[in-house]
Symmetry: C2
Subunit: 330 residues, 2 copies
């Protein structure tokens, strides 16, 4: 499948879950929940995760209509995690709009996220498949949530960590985005009747793609910003452990390392544009951007190797999907 | 069963879930999660909810060992909701200790709560029962979580609401504590093989008991404090819609109503002890405490009627349990 064909197919598939989402979380005045949910969910999400879920199910010979609820649940989980993450990271802008906690307050943002998680489980458990499959879906969903929380815990508590290594970084992003990245695909495969060995390979694929994605995100943060009002260097302001930071620590001399840690450890509001530029220059000087590129390439290569191990006839679909993700991630 | 016998049995049953909890969320240095979980979970919880779950299962003829994981999940859910609630309400003290967000930060408190929820689902889904029963357990668990979030949304957004009625109050507490109060019992009944009609009666019982509990909590807040450093009148400081407030609004004249709403609408840090005493005096004058007592009595009576409709032979156990709860709630 060509990239433009795949993009069109993904958009088409993603659109199928809109009515499912509307049914799952109806807009109701006065519930003090659905307004915030839809404020967030309409803010420009591309429904990529549910689209991948539906396509995976169909390509593996399953009836993708049976995956609609699970696909919707994956989208709700994704958005719920963003709502909570924005509070946790103190981010005020997402997709160029005020984040939920800025608009509705911290209390509502936390509770809305919890509510979304309940709605997501409701969808998973109502999947029109036999009960053994529903249990498998819910367990897979739960494992992804748990892994993401484990990764997020490291992400928050390793800020400006002076002895952070590239291996620590990879462990963090694998936990934080690996299972979660693969969740739609894994659910689609389960609904298509695939066994655990297929799901395990898909998880492994998700780990590679998730890490590659995250590395790309780290680089974008210092080049184009992340749609947060176009601000560059958010990760540096937050002292977040990016791959650039982890690599630079290992390549720096003592003076550079001390300067880097000092800037990263500064509270967000005290980190100025000059600080960001200084760190950017350090990363440049130490070859951190090239390292990130090499690391992403390595992960992409591993992703392709993993795809070839998925024991299904239509490996071409997974290869297309991986290429698509990769072109977005480098 | 006599009250002291029941108390002893509940303590005994509650202790059975400790090893299950330890296995579910092992204490691991450096995960930045389990320390906060156990800091919170060891802070004096009585494991009442899991005890009720196990006893219910056994009394209905089930094997209570099969309910251990579900019982542990109910306890983890209970604690997770408290962790998030404390952030949402800005409460700094619980059970006379610093709350999780005060000790570990808001970001960690939110993420720890999400992680606990994932662990709770992991336990529910691993219950040693057939898959249809596991789906039923997970759906019941999800419905309780969702209802609690709906109630919490009203609770947060109806603060100092000038047209709050007693019916609004009852709708709020039924959502917030009804399903959730009955969750342990409902799960125990499901594992014992009871049909939906039994679970529905248990839910109805939970609604009465939950509302009676909440009314008691409202009164305690103005008499003994809620273990938050012995501070009296927390609800007034937070502008929380208690039954006292809802009733007083309906019984007050225009001047009293305006004064009441004015004090309730004050930001927490601007509400002084004199404000609390003034509202207390108003409640006294308007007969709000007597009304709360009557309302609790009415709910207790309805709880006993509901118990008699539960179509099981051992109605006596549920009557004892209701009496026990009631003696705690008035």
């Amino acid at each position: 499948m060509r990239a433009d064909e795949l993009t069109a197919r993904l958009a088409e598939e993603g659109a199928r879950i809109e009515p499912v989402l509307e049914e799952l979380i109806p807009r109701r005045a006065g519930d003090y929940l659905s307004e915030a949910v839809w404020y967030h969910m309409e803010g420009g999400g591309k429904r990529l995760r549910p689209a991948i879920c539906l396509l995976t199910c169909g390509k593996l010979g399953g009836d993708s209509r049976k995956a609609l609820r699970f696909a919707a649940a994956v989208e709700v989980l994704h958005n719920m995690l963003l709502v909570h993450d924005d509070v946790e990271d103190g981010d005020r802008v997402r997709r160029d709009r005020a984040t939920v906690w800025v608009k509705f307050g911290i209390g509502n943002a936390i509770n809305v996220g919890d509510f979304m998680l309940a709605a997501a489980y409701r969808a998973v458990l109502a999947s029109p498949v036999d009960e053994a499959t529903r249990v498998r879906l819910a367990a897979t969903f739960t494992a992804a949530l748990e892994s993401t929380c484990r990764g997020q815990a490291l992400d928050m508590n390793w800020r400006a960590r002076p002895d952070m290594t590239v291996d620590d970084y990879l462990a963090l992003v694998t936990l934080k985005t690996g299972r979660y990245m693969a969740l739609g695909m894994a659910g689609g495969a389960i609904i298509a009747g695939m066994g655990d060995e297929v799901v395990e390979q898909i998880d492994a694929l998700g780990e590679c793609m998730g890490a590659a994605f995250q590395i790309r995100d780290d680089v974008i943060d210092l080049t184009a910003g992340k749609g947060r009002g176009g601000v560059i260097g958010n990760d540096i302001r937050e002292g977040k452990s990016s791959i650039l930071y982890a690599y630079a620590l290992s390549a720096a001399d003592d003076g550079q390392r001390a300067e880097l840690v000092r800037i990263m450890a500064k509270p967000r509001e005290q980190t100025g544009d000059a600080d960001v530029q200084r760190v950017q220059a350090l990363y440049q000087e130490l070859g951190a951007f090239e390292f990130a590129q090499r690391e992403a390439d390595r992960l992409v290569e591993r992703a392709f190797e993993t795809v070839d191990r998925i024991p299904v006839r239509d490996g071409e679909f997974f290869r297309s999907l991986t290429r698509f993700m990769v072109s977005r991630s480098t």
